[in-house]
Amino acid sequence: MNDEYYLELSENPVQFENASSVNNVFFDEANKQVFAVRSGGATGVVVKGPDDKSSVAFRMDDKGEVKCIKFSLGNKILAVQRTTKSVDFINFIPDYPHLEFSHECKTKNASILGFCWTNWNEIVFVTDQGIEFYQVLPDKRTLKLLKSQSINVNWYIYCPETAVLLLSTTVQGNVLQPFAFKTATMSKMSKFEIELPAVPKPAKLSLSERDIAVATIYDQLYVMYLKHHSRTTNSPGAEVVLYHLPREGTCKRTNVLRLNTTGKFAINVVDNLVVVHHQSTQTSLIYDIKLRELDGNVNVHQPVLPARSINPFKIPLTGPAAAPSQAPLPCELYSSSWSVFQPDIIISASEGFLWYLQVKLQPTLNLLQDKGKLMDFLLRRRDCKMVILSVCSQMLIGGDKGNLSVVATVFDKLNQVYKEYLDAEQAYTAAMESGPSRSSAYKRPVRTQAVIDQSDMYTHVLSDFTEKKEVKHKFIIAVVMEYIRSLNQFQIPVQHYLYELVIKTLVQHNLFYMLHQFLQYHVLTDSKPLACLLLSLESTYPPAYQLSLDMLKRLSTANDEIVEVLLSKQQVLGALRFIRSVGGHDNASARKFLDAARQTNDTMLFYTIFRFFETRNMRLRGNPGFNPGEHCEEHVSYFKQVFGESAVMKPTTA
């Protein structure tokens, strides 16, 4: 069953001292840091993350209960909120005074809901009456107000990745006002409303921040609304509604993820997949918003795969307490003490672990029967190459041998991605050549693992597939041809080794006539190596000779090869006629042709060739004789010996 789990927790979680009465634990999504604050920091603060190795530890005076604590980007400045009125700062920049200083929010009798760093020295205070955007001046130990905006706020969510701040406004709290931050600037984005399942009477705050998550999927910012099951609307179960939040323009409701059940849920985003954890069933579902099944104006999605639990996790025993005899004890999944953060973080405060959630692709092979859909799914994953390739081999050799049309679709999907990459590449290089000025616009296209090129296909799939004895050769050929077809369909130039593969297979089963027909329709693109390969087949299949000559002719750059081939076939006249037809006879080597003629032991032929060159010499030099440089002496004497002195051309004639 192990290969059934397609979700797993990172195997070295960030460990920290678990939350307790004396130890408060905070998590900063921006820096992915866990703060363990013992007795208000007096007995020390331990900061862990983003991975197990990195950690910071320090002390600070206990000035009352800490509400919120975060480092600015790069751990430069620490901000601590203890009251609803002010935030305290501690300088962590080396050789700066390590003294605390505090700042009150400027709005009278507003209470600070929280704050978030947007830069190493810029911070936003979120109050119930608005937001205040400051620049921190550590040396002066003061803050400079950059911008502020007054607006009633129920709660807020900050997406560090995109530096976008969402404010919940209005009584019901379902109108969200986003702000975008960029060094020293703050821009207000158009607000939008989350459709509530039911409007309560009288109006009261009915959208909680627990039901909203913000994350970027496929490089787009989405607001995810966990819409609970409502009796009134007879929907089968709860849904996750996605609102696309573009930098410019209005936010639109784009996707709906059907959960088909009810209960407590938590959302993660991993590898552009939306993962919904369901506590009661202790399982998770994954959704790919690009796997679209059209349904009305928004895309309604079903889970890509059947619900599965996260791969069970064994807590590694570390420290002196660990005894080798003791087996690692399983940790409770989906526990109530779990808190889930975007995009892919799961924290168990009670056990003091921070995991990154991960998707395992291998199991999907067996869980997703529709190979086409599977490909669509895999091609969008980060570490997909090997999995995809194994899918291919599996569908060709494996037990569940897909039929040709499936093979075809798979190949087409792969080559589509392949082609897109090649085009991008080409456009880029083209731009480069066209001069750096414009090229700045282009950036070198990144080659993702989804790009499966011909050599990948050849080395990992086709080469050993075609070796398989148990597979019917009919199928082998069909598959390779299918691949070539697909490449051609996307106008991808086919590599020579694929043709070799075809020919090898056809020859193995002496399906020469088939090969002949392929060449006849130029299915195998012309090339010198291919022509040579054909030539090598002549002994077993004579027509190959003609085929290869045709190919050389079409290449039009292979005249020398043609002459060599003809000479090797003792077609001396043919060779000479050919070289003449391409106008090369004036600088052809007389020696070469006379040698060839001699080898045939055909004196008549030798006479003809000899005469041809005599006449040529005559034309070029006004003298039929050969130059010493041409090394034809032995041939001249042979000629005399066979046909007599008199037969040699006289300078006077012609």
């Binding site: 006249l573 000479l576 006629r577 003449r580 004196t603 008549m604 032929l605 006479y607 003809t608 005469r611 041809f612 005599e614 006449t615 005559m618 046909f643 007599g644 008199s646 037969a647 051309m649 006289k650 004639t653 012609a654």
Partner: protein, 588 residues
Amino acid sequence: MDHNGQESGNMEEVKICDPSILPQCPDHTDTDVPSENHCVNEDHRTPSDPEGLLESADHSSEQDVLPQEPSTEMQKLHVEDDRSLCPGGSETDSGKASQDSALVDNSNDDSGEFVVTVLARGKMEEQGMGMKGASSPLSETGTPLGPPSHRNEDVTADSWRQHRKHVFVLSEAGKPIYSRYGSEEALSSTMGVMMALVSFVQSGDNIIRSVYSDEHTVVFMQRGPLVLVSVSCSRQSEQQLRNELVYVYNQIVSMLTQASITRIFEHKKNYDLRRLLAGSEKILDGLLNLVDSDPSFLLCAVHCLPLASSLRDSLSQILQKAITPNLVFSILIAKNQLLTIVQEKMVIDDARLEPADLHLLLNLIGASSAFQAGEIWTPICLPSFNPDCYFYAYISYLDPPECTVCLVLLSTDKEAFYSVAECKRKIEEAMQTQNALKSIAKAQSYSVSQVGVSDLRHFMYKPFDVPDNHRQLTQFTSPEMEAPYSSEEERMRLLDLYRDLHGRIHSASRPLKLIYHVAERETLLAWVTSKFELYTCFSPLVTKTCAINAITKLLRWIKKEEERLFIRYPPKYSTTPNPSRSSKTDAH
């Protein structure tokens, strides 16, 4: 010396007896030639003569009686001699006619045998000589294709099958007459089958023409009572093979005359004609070798030795001067090529010597070294001229012992031996004084390189009779076959290529005007216009432009050399003794 003595001794015998051998000949000639020529010898005519052939046939058959009398040949001959000499001969003839037929019935099948006795005996004597010498003189003409052993070849051996061209002659009764290879006896059954095939198809009111296999072409031809079959793997056209069979037939006719052949088989269906042809197979062998190796037969034209026109003219004049009554053709030959030919005017007026006949004559001469010894006087029929009558050929070499220059004088008078021999002496003298023999010896065929076109290897050019000299004998010219055609095989191959072109361009059903053929080892061009017929052979690498230019150049060259290459205006003379004519000749 002794040997020479022997020869001359032989010749003596030949000389003496020859004129007297053929008793019926005077009747023949007297009847035949006039029937050809209305104005000659008017006065010699006997009233019965105009009936022509039938008459003369009776004469000859009448002689059938005599051989029955037990007598040596010599006696017989003399007896005949006397008889024929008696003036009343011609009268008695008609009277004898009925008796003949009666006799023929109970007579042995010797009918018409005499017609050839001259040739036959001629041969026998040669063989006599031959026995003294190493081998039979005729074998000297043997080419690689035909060593004398061919007669007794094993007809079941592959070597026999592999012969390039077989020729068979048989009688309607299926009796073998001639086979080029292997003895007729051994082949009698095969020939039987041939005849069966012929008559089977005939029985279906149809005519068998030929049979084709991947290897062979078998051509059947019937001529009167004779069936001729050619089995060849030479890939020649059916028409060409047929023409060759016609040559074979005509060569036989030249020895027997058509009339007598017909007559013989009329009398006896299953007559064995070999008895008459005994010894003369070698003439047919020689002919067939010549047919294969000499394009003259293909082109039906005469190849004359290139000669400065001045020299040719003086030779013609020499011949013109040396004349005697009934002399109709004086022919001078060197190296088996024609030097010049002079013709009796009256004969020329409505007939002329056909190349075909000349070929047969040349073959006859070439086939027999016997002619190299002194003088020969022999009757010969020229089928194209007249298949039923004889001429009397005086043949003698002028340059013994080399024997390259040969004089042939044709007379219509069997008695004319001495007068004709006299002509020869005149000619010899004249030539000596002019030292002609030397200049003839110098004369030789030319090399294609003289044309000066590098890619041109060989050619054959045959001008057509043009109105102004339409009486001219059809000729062709062609250079020596030099490298790369130095070997026998190569020569034969080139000739075959020419034959191919010729066959195609003259195809009965689909004749062509021009053929340009880039073949395996040469490029050939054949071109037929109203003025000439041309066959050329180039290097296989010649370009079309090149070839066309070469042709133009060649034609120009030939025009320039015309006088040397051809006999332009064959001279004529008049031998008519009757005054009216002579006055006419004086007018010249």
